[in-house]
């Protein structure tokens, strides 16, 4: 079956509505959150209307069906990223997934491979989203470990020239983004994973911007932990994923404690269940997990390689069109090599917030601001940018509308 954006859009009911007095919705903000197909909306509704009960508890039929649906979703997510189901942990968001690892490491006692203290080092990069920066800087503060980071080059790539000085024998963890949510840059993981493992450090990958857009096989990536959110991958909000290698999940202490993550409890002590239950205290976001399972099925039915190919072609087209606009500066790689379909840019004289407002009046949804990556904006010498991010339901016509919108904005704001 050939890749048809027209057919795909029919599966997403939001494209039936119009924006600002009858304009067609041109949704270019999937980097913030993606739209949802009927398959996901129906899966969530179906869970609530037919199978709702607390999972892993209860002796009744509904509890059994709910547990089957929830664990079935875990298996679908695992299959989607080439993992084993017991390595897949449901959280409420990717932010929680990353915090889970950071806080759990902070809970590790001396002797545990994750224990951190003075003399240990944590490595991040300047291009991290706040969700993969703040948890680590705060962990460094709490434990006395030192935070180091990779810089970003002027052509928006990770500067790995000093990799041996950044990742040292003292490094315990390297937390890095797979694809920048601002620049679109896809980072070269092989060199980072190799050096990290050489010094005995674990690699935590923020895959929020990559898992929804390209085929991912955790085994092939070589990383140790991987986080992504459901809602950026056409799934519901309220569900995120943390994947980790089984032996590491066994050694990692829990983060949140409480019901369903224990094997036994006395008034003064408790012992922990095996992963993934050890990291899923409390009744989880069940309908959302089931919705994410449906999202993985939908994406698989379209084909992740087909989606990646579509986005590469679309990014080629968009970059070509955008660089033709006078006074437009791409903030990120201007070539399509090792790059996702997120394109940030600035226009001389028009502030991104004003441009975003104008585009909205044309039915075009973009993101403006620092995109929760303030240190990156500072390193690129921009206060804020406009970001267009594409997905499977976007096509060249959307790019054309964006380009026309920018040109109209230049006329509109240039008239004074």
């Amino acid at each position: 079956m050939s890749f048809s954006v027209t057919d795909i859009r029919r599966d997403f009911p939001i494209f039936e509505r119009t924006i600002r007095d009858g304009k067609r919705l041109v949704y270019l903000d999937s980097g913030a959150t993606s739209q949802k197909p009927w398959a996901v909306i129906n899966a969530e509704t179906d869970f609530y209307t037919k199978h709702n009960a607390a999972v892993h508890r209860g002796a009744h039929q509904l509890a059994e069906e709910a547990t089957d649906a929830y664990e079935g979703a875990r298996a679908k997510v695992a299959g989607f990223i080439g993992a084993q189901p017991e390595e897949v942990i449901f959280t409420k968001s990717a932010t929680e997934s990353l915090n889970l690892v950071a806080y759990a490491m902070g809970n590790a006692e001396s002797g545990n491979r994750f224990a951190l203290g003075e003399g240990d080092e944590i490595v991040v990069s300047e291009m991290e989203h706040h969700a993969n920066l703040v948890p680590w800087q705060q962990l460094a503060k709490r434990t006395g470990a030192k935070l180091s980071w990779f810089k970003v080059t002027s052509d928006a790539r990770l500067d790995l020239t000093n990799i041996d000085e950044v990742i040292t024998p003292r490094t315990k963890v390297v937390a890095i983004t797979h694809q920048s949510n601002v620049l679109g840059t896809i980072n070269p993981l092989d060199a980072i994973v190799k050096r990290a493992h050489e010094v005995g450090a674990v690699v935590v990958l923020d895959a929020c911007q990559s898992v929804p857009h390209m085929p991912i096989d955790v085994a092939a990536l070589g990383v140790d932990f991987l986080a992504f959110s459901g809602h950026k991958a056409i799934g519901p909000t309220g569900v995120g994923i943390l994947w980790g290698r089984s032996p590491l999940l066994s050694e990692l202490p829990p983060f949140l404690t409480g019901g369903s993550m224990v094997t036994s409890v006395t008034m003064t002590d408790a012992t922990w269940a095996q992963a993934p239950q050890k990291f899923e205290a409390g009744v989880p976001n069940m309908a959302q997990a089931v919705g994410l399972g449906a999202a993985c099925n939908y994406l698989t039915s379209i084909g992740m390689q087909a989606i990646r190919d579509h986005e590469i072609a679309l990014t080629d087209y968009a970059l070509k069109k955008l660089v033709e606009i006078a006074e437009l500066n791409i903030i990120g790689p201007s070539t399509n090599e090792s790059r996702g379909s997120t394109i940030s840019f600035t226009i001389n004289e028009i502030h991104p917030h004003d441009l975003g407002q104008f585009l909205d009046s044309q039915g075009i949804a973009v993101r403006t601001g620092h995109h929760c990556a303030w240190p990156l904006a500072k390193s690129m010498n921009v206060q804020s940018t406009t970001r267009a991010s594409f997905y499977l339901y976007n096509n060249e016509e959307d790019v054309d509308v964006l380009v026309q919108g920018i040109q109209s904005a230049q006329k509109y704001f240039g008239r004074f």
């Binding site: 502030h351 917030h353 004003d354 407002q357 104008f358 804020s384 509109y412 004074f416």
Partner: protein, 147 residues
């Protein structure tokens, strides 16, 4: 077009030709406010003598709405007493909360009634208020020091 009610000519004029921009090193209170959701920022240096605002200078970066609003604020509040400034600030805040139902008090707000259209765009109200919140803060600070 709805957009024209937001981007009034006088607003874009203040954005392109900001008044009293450039920080005066002499001041009785300095405040720096940031709109954390978008990164827009403004620094105000305010000089107050005997409860009269004798000078406001500023620097900042951000969208046309936030920057034009600070520029107009300086035009409106310099040479006013703190009491007069409070009445004007209150009137501006009320206009911003009006959700497009008010045209603003032109006697008090003068050109700043042009921001009436902003109140129809909830996400932009905080842009328009950035400088005004900073001024409130500066006024409180300088009063604290004079006691």
């Amino acid at each position: 077009m709805e957009l024209d009610s937001l981007y009034q000519e006088v607003i874009l004029d203040h954005y392109k030709h900001p008044q009293h921009k450039g920080l005066n090193p002499v001041f009785s209170a300095q405040v720096h406010h940031v709109n954390t959701s978008c990164g827009d920022e403004v620094t105000l240096n305010v000089t107050i003598k005997d409860r009269k605002i004798t000078g406001i200078s500023w620097d900042g970066q951000g969208c046309s709405i936030s920057q034009a609003s600070v520029s107009m604020l300086t035009d409106l509040l310099i040479d006013k007493t703190l009491e007069e400034a409070e009445v004007i600030t209150h009137s501006f805040s009320e206009l911003m909360a009006s959700k497009g139902t008010s045209t603003g008090d032109a006697d008090l707000l003068e050109d700043a009634v042009a921001f009436a259209g902003v109140s129809k765009f909830p996400s932009r109200v905080k842009c328009a208020l950035l400088g005004w919140m900073a001024f409130k803060d500066a006024a409180v600070q300088s009063q604290g020091e004079s006691k």
